[in-house]
Amino acid sequence: MSETAAPTLLGRLGGWFSPAASADIAAAEDAALRSDRFRLEREGEWKRLEAIVTRIERGRLRGISDEDLLALPALYRTAVSSLAVARETSLDAETLAWLEVLTRRAWFIVYGPRAGLGDWLLRFFGGGWGASVRALGHDILIALALMVAGTVAGWLLVASDPDWYYALIPAGMADARVPGASRAVLMGTLFGQQNQSGLGMFAAALFSNNAQVSILAFALGFAFGLPSALLLIQNTTMLGALLWLYHGQGLTIEIIGWLAVHGTTELFAILLAGAAGLHIGRAMAFPGDAAVLDAAAAAGRRSAQVMVGVVLMLIVAGLLEGFARQLINNTAGRLIVGVFMLVFWTGYFFVWRGNAGDGTSEGVQP
């Protein structure tokens, strides 16, 4: 073994003291096989690619020089073409397997998620959000119809038999708001809470709860959208029952104001979440020409963007509910805030086109 190891050692020592490139060339000239010469001539570039890819994978983007970043796509294509050539000319399993792994790692980086979270958010607010909402198309109308139907059903059920009220409204929410409560008690639940503190906490808890509900409405969409529809109806029957209760004491405008402060934002968000769920459900039930899985994936990506927006809307709704509703103690003020938010969202989604083209990142080519 000693006589066979000596040349390697010498070669390595030589490699330390001479420029790496010339050592590569010398090694390539030494190589007995054509395929090994092919490998040694390109190995420097492959190794450079590997070093860049490793550094990017570790998240150390700042440590990479501009030249390296610019060279990355070219190095990647070199590796790909090397792989294609090596498959046709080389029987060195080790090199082939290594090149496949390297190419795959580089492929994920070169063709990875193009935008970081920051860039993505910029595009998202600059029109991508509205575009994704518009892409839901008819599903928004279906969800809206379901919500209206739910509200009407809630109202009618409670009007026909007040016992339904207890079935529809969860016990924790009912407290003073029960059928037969006096006008004064009901008024008390609507006004006069501006001195209450702990609003921030209240807002955060509301947001967390609402966000989970709407995520549920979306995620259940893949059961062909039925659970999403049920959830929409179930949540709006509560609304209908509540409206009926206050209507009975002549507080219709007041309750609408009370609800509208945050409700226009929150109900809009739930509407969108439900529509996103229906969108997926419909895509899976009626995939058209595409395969079911492809249709579901396309619909899922479109509506995921909507869902990020829904969560943001719910943050706004939680803040409005926690602060604005308690601090604005008159119906006119509440209605103004509520209507303003409604106009704002509608305009932002359906009128303003922004500058993000069709809004999906697949659509924006470099």
Binding site: T4, S208, I215
Partner: protein, 300 residues
Amino acid sequence: MARREPRSRDRMVITPEGVTLPIVLAAHGARAAALLLDLAMIGAAIIVTTLTLIWIAGGVAVAESDLQGGTAKSHALQAIVVLWIVAMFLFRNAWFLFFELGPRGATPGKRIAGIRIAARGTERLTTEAVIARNIVRDIELFMPVVFIGGAFAAGSDADLAGWAGAIWFAIFMLFPFFNRDALRCGDVIAGTWVIEAPRRKLGHALSVSAPVAAAEQAFTFTPEELAVYGEYELQTLERVLRDGRGPALDDVADAISRKIGRPYPYRAERVFLESYYLQLRARLEQGLRLGRRKADKHAA
């Protein structure tokens, strides 16, 4: 699409450059391990955050009145509670999102398990896809927990809720076992799958290292002697040479020597094998360039 072996986890994708790349779907065990690791890490992060916030709150005995009052102290406490609620929401929803959007496409648990997410087929992984697959994770994983917890809090039938939660959980956990690509529901919605992300080191080029000189030393094989084996045997021999273990070398050298009917001197098995390997590879690669492949020793 061609029908595949039902159990195989190997898949082929085609890069935009038109080169096929083999990928291997992650095993169920690796994915489960990655998930458990992530959950453990999230749990640890939640505990640390909670303890830190309690510590910041001064460890005061928090009374209901402290949270509701208007004093400076209660304002500070409220801020901390808000922070806590937001932090919990982020841990639950943003942990997977943040890490899977990174260049490795893997959460810490997935990294340890050596797997990553990728878009199915040749599409590129998009931010939307990562968001979609993680929103759905919420109902797969956290819903039953919330469900059972809610039943306990409301004092209703916890047994029933427990069973419902367990069935719910089982449906989603078993989902990956009943489709070809081991997709969970989130993967279906997002158009992603989970694959192995191996890394390896490049071994040396066999024809450059030491034995080049040695190859000239003794053995030159005739075309007939080289015609015995094909690519499969060549690559087996390559593995043996790279592993470099003595007994294996002996056995393989003996086998080849018997097969081609050519003895080799005592303790020269490595030189013998390396010479044979290089000459066989040179011959097979020459055939390759001319469009003649010999898959293994049985091939004509």
